[in-house]
Point group: C2
Chain length 370, copies 2
């Protein structure tokens, strides 16, 4: 059983962020970047909190990664000067906002098709500008991206004449790692990602092109990574908090997890059942990432022999060892399965240190889907 204080004088459900652990997690990854010779560009989707992004920069991150233009805007407002949107941007409204954003801060954007490239270029070339683009390579997630190797170079060649674009490099996200079961599997995905990078860089070399940025990233692969020739940027996100999925993958332990949910028991309808005031509106329904089912419960309950078995929107139903005492009004503390959507569901979190609330942190990037 994992234990930690759950005596906080705040109403529930509430998100607690252990600031000591955050700082340790950030320093560990920054050190990994420094020792492997890569720049760190953390994905802020994991926390969406301006203060934490600024801390990442202060500790040495070159800039941040965002998912959407709206997330990038929040980070620019927070004073971040260099933002990569690791996603395709194709709608007119967003492209206009992207153009406006590029006047304020350094922005680059993902790209995986000639059609998308033309849409992007048209907006920038009409304004007499260029936007930095980074080609997305599919390293096995089968989501977006061009296949590794030659196809990336072919896309580069096909769009070379577009006047609104400037080639910046290539990026991968080996998100399939979240479907793995063991640390060995995680390491195999990390190895595959490196091989794909080397293969693709070689294809670019054959045509005399050296991508300025070669970027990889996911927290599990980065936690086991020891560098790779050619890779000069890493983009983990979740590493700031870690969570029950990372524990299950073998790349984190509960004592490193920095985000927890504080909840209150509202009902004790049976000796082996306790209901808390946090359901899927707090925890989300993730039992793995990318929709995969990895875990049995919906979070790791601290201090109690209990499983968070079922979630309705406002109720968390825990099955309880019948010897456990747990009364109505008592609080419980739970490490969520997947920290990222938990952050996205709340407006604020409490920064805690050594059992005391130190700060209220506004999740300014919450809900920014456009």
């Amino acid at each position: 059983m994992v234990t930690d204080s759950n005596a906080f004088d705040i109403d529930t459900p509430a998100l607690l962020i252990d600031l000591d652990r955050v700082e340790k997690n950030l320093a560990t990854m920054q050190k990994k970047a420094d020792t492997t010779g890569a720049l760190l560009r953390p994905h802020i989707k994991a926390h969406k909190i301006p203060e934490l992004a600024r801390t990442q920069i202060r500790l040495g991150a070159v800039g941040v990664t965002a998912s959407k233009v709206a997330e990038a805007e929040v980070m620019a407002d927070a004073g971040i000067k260099d933002i990569f949107i690791a996603n395709q941007v194709v709608t007119t409204t967003k492209l206009k906002r992207l153009a406006a954003l590029s006047k304020r801060v350094k922005v680059s954007v993902g790209l995986d098709s000639a059609a998308g490239a033309k849409i992007l270029s048209d907006v920038f070339s009409a304004a007499g500008k260029k936007i930095d683009y980074v080609i997305e390579i599919d390293s096995g997630l089968n989501r977006c991206g061009v296949p590794p190797g030659l196809p990336a170079v072919e896309l580069f060649s096909a769009i070379k004449q577009l006047t609104g674009l400037r080639f910046k490099g290539i990026f991968t996200h080996a998100g399939q790692v979240y479907g793995k079961q063991t640390l060995e599997d995680v390491m195999a995905v990390s190895k595959l990602e490196s091989e794909i990078i080397v293969e693709t860089c070689n294809c670019f070399k054959d045509v005399g092109v050296r991508p300025e940025v070669v970027s990889v990233g996911s927290t599990p692969t980065m936690r086991v990574w020891n560098g790779c020739a050619g890779v000069n940027e890493i983009r983990p996100g979740n590493y700031i908090f870690l969570d029950a999925i990372q524990i299950a993958l073998g790349v984190a332990n509960p004592q490193e997890c920095a985000l927890t949910v504080l909840a209150t028991v509202t009902s004790r309808p049976a000796h082996d059942r306790a209901v808390v005031d946090a359901g899927s509106k707090v925890f989300a329904l993730d039992k793995g990432a990318h929709g995969k089912e990895m875990l049995k419960g919906f979070g790791l309950v601290l201090n109690k022999n209990a499983v968070l078995e079922r979630l309705s929107e406002e109720h968390g139903v825990m099955s309880l060892d019948s010897k456990e005492k747990l009364e109505i009004g008592e609080t419980v503390r739970i490490i969520p399965n997947h920290a990222c959507p938990v952050i996205n569901l709340s407006d604020k979190a409490y920064g805690i240190r050594r059992g005391k609330v130190e700060a209220e942190l506004l999740i300014a990037g919450r809900g920014k889907v456009q």
Copy 2:
């Protein structure tokens, strides 16, 4: 294949609410309440939108149901005068807010334990007030609530002397209906709920007590319900929009579904794969209610032979019939599996009528978990 217009001049991802369908769904349920002799007290968790709550009242609803004090506060701010919080409220901060709310509007609250009753009563009796409470009966969901029949009367008797409480009635939510597979199963749950109500009311009758309110509710059971002696209030929520889960249960058809997600294709990495700009941050991960797995995809794609197979936070991955043409930049429209969490994830929705945007609707009750 279900079809509908997807030509809207708004950025994506966006929630569309078909106002004609909403009005029809509301009128249908109001008529059911009227003809069965029950009052309608819709659960606003499904929409969380002040304007829609006011429409429900205007059409004949006696008041609304909310999940949390914070949701009730939003509804009180919206001018709703009679609010039932169908949940246990036990924390000090929330009880103070509940007391303040009870000075503004008529409020009642759920209760399922003597311990919870004492906590509740203490706050109100200290202020020389009484709060109306409604005993929650577990009608098979195995979440909160006392068992049907005698235990409800026993709880009533055990807390009778508490001076801060006033007994108002009993309520059930047969949410287990969302785990059913056929319309016959849905009808069986509805029948069971009625039997439980009759049994419990008889137990109260034996001690000379007549609950003022006897309240049942869930959209599937209410859609097949034809009244029940003793029940005088119904509390469906989802019926305002309906969704792919309701279709799967056999209690709705796609032409009745009023909430859809408009998304844009951002990537076409393979002939049978299209990626849209809406993922789990828009759709949530529900494949059934209460965490059950009922459906294969994450929503019902209109106008295309396509399945929304996988969701990452910002990506929806559709598998596509290879004959389907679907270009980067094109929009798709999708009926979500579960409308309620979709509403909770967005700040606003667009009210549409006959293919045109008519109104922007602020989801003022979003994220109100306390």
